[in-house]
């Protein structure tokens, strides 16, 4: 019996160690990480956070004011943490958390009762470009924030699908294949959205160059 008890103790210790000392690496798959997180492994969830924070940030930035995005990123992951048990296919973690982020952005507008137009504390009135039909141009040497705001406003005036893809590419620095892998969209959809969106953006920015 003593052997049996020792085995049980070893077994329990092993389980506890697995929960407290994550052996996960950058190469670990989403499904394994999500399953481990669901079993209580905070380290695994942390890796998922590292992997998906940029994508969630970009999805939100396409829809809500810049000043609100950082807080909402945390909200989205906390919401995901609380709902991990409802994620049926752990391999779909990316598409799932992207959906939570889009929903959180909708919710932000519903709660603020302001779904008319995005405004931003980093945007100057003359740079929002929101209903203007004039082509927007990047200023020659303005303050960095104002220049970024003008470019962001131009992207935000595009249709939603283009907006999200372009922000993930140009703001978050993700490549097309990475966007497809992280958001769960097909490579074809991302490619179409990215190229057509870029074409529209060039028109908005008053450029003659075509992508």
């Amino acid at each position: 019996m003593a052997v049996g008890v020792a085995s049980n103790v070893d077994f329990c210790t092993a389980i506890m160690e697995r929960r407290t000392v994550s052996a996960w690496t950058e190469d670990s798959g989403d499904a394994a990480l999500a399953e481990a997180a669901r079993d209580g492994d905070r380290g695994a969830f942390g890796l998922l956070y590292d992997r998906y924070a940029r994508m969630v940030h970009g999805v939100l930035l396409a829809r809500v004011p810049f000043s609100a995005v950082d807080d909402l990123v945390q909200d989205v992951f906390l919401q995901a943490l609380g709902r991990l048990r409802s994620l049926r296919d752990t391999a779909c973690f990316g598409a799932w958390i992207a959906a939570i982020a889009r929903n959180r952005a909708h919710d932000y507008h519903r709660r603020s009762r302001n779904d008319v137009e995005l405004t931003d504390d980093i945007l100057g009135d003359e740079q929002t470009g929101g209903g203007s039909s004039k082509p927007l141009r990047l200023a020659s040497a303005p303050a960095p924030d104002a220049e970024a705001a003008a470019a962001l406003a131009a992207i935000r005036s595009l249709p939603e699908a283009y907006r999200e893809t372009l922000i993930l590419r140009l703001v978050e620095g993700m490549t097309g294949p990475e966007i497809a892998a992280r958001t769960g969209l097909t490579t074809g959809s991302v490619r179409v959205n990215m190229h057509r969106g870029m074409q529209k953006l060039r028109e908005k920015l008053g450029s003659g160059v075509r992508g």
């Binding site: 209580g40 905070r42 924070a53 906390l78 959906a99 924030d145 470019a151 294949p177 992508g211």
Partner: protein
Amino acid sequence: MDRKENSKYLWDGSGEPDPEIQRLESVLGKLAYSGARPGFPDIVPAAPWWSVLPFGWPMRLAAVSAVMAVAALVAVWFVIHRSKQNPAPSGSTASEWQVARLAGAPRVGNTAIENQGGLGPGQTLVTDNRSRAEITADEVGEIEVDPDTRLRLVPSRGERKRLALDRGVIHAFIWSPPGEFMVDTPSATAVDMGCAYTLQVDDSGAGLLRTTLGWVGFRLDGHDAFIPAGAVCATRPGIGPGTPCFEDASPALRAALTAFDFGPADQRAPALDTILAQARKRDALTLWHLLARVDANDRGRVYDRLAKLVPPPHAVTRDGILRLDPTMLDLWWNELGLGDVSLWRTFERSWSESDSQSRGKAR
């Protein structure tokens, strides 16, 4: 710069850099995510129920085995019993929607939903004249189901992404990516393009779709209608989607549109006269759809009126529109400022495949 090289740089950063994209990356990169991983609260995994048993491992194991054996017997009985009452198609991999009762006693199959329940592939949610429900799928959206409604989850390859509204009213708020979620009605399929909308179907199978946010496509056998926020579109069995119009269009235009879409053939010409006379700039939505719906002899009149309201882009010619050149029609649509039709075209092929598969399974 070589167009292909330029395109490669945009796609994955390889190839010859595009100076304009580099400039945007440099400017916009300042807004990128730069936070650090926060401290997350402890994740409390579901405690295994057997951990509460007050005795040691051997006894626990025996108790667990006994309980599992009983549970397995109960489950087998339940599956057999349930499949007789409310059969779910075999081979489906789709998961359930969560169902919450909002009022009365909504049912899934023969089972009344007391508070929470599930709607599986092939199952039907039914509300009577006093009950309401809400169904939710994390990766799709949430839908409120009004009284006197029958709503089915259609087994499909795109799990939980296709419902069928046989009768009644639903209010859908969808956050699934555009083009993935569809609702079949007896006379058309509503394709979500990122939006909120209300869809109703009466006992004859006639339907009405009202978009409140984003836009929705309504289609039957390649016959399409694009319905942006603020617009409505009716549909009739055997005919399919009518012509969409904005809800604030004049009553005369809306009445004429109903006569044009669904009335006797001899009413179409006078109805078209009224529509053209009543159309405002905003009603370009309606006129664009009419281009493909009027007789060839009337198309020139519709072209002329629409061109006055929203001039066609350079690449669009009168001749091209009169012969319904699809590229020119799409270019003109994009000029209306109601969304980019290319998104719709992108997903069309996969919808067609999905259509044929789900119809085969639904029958």
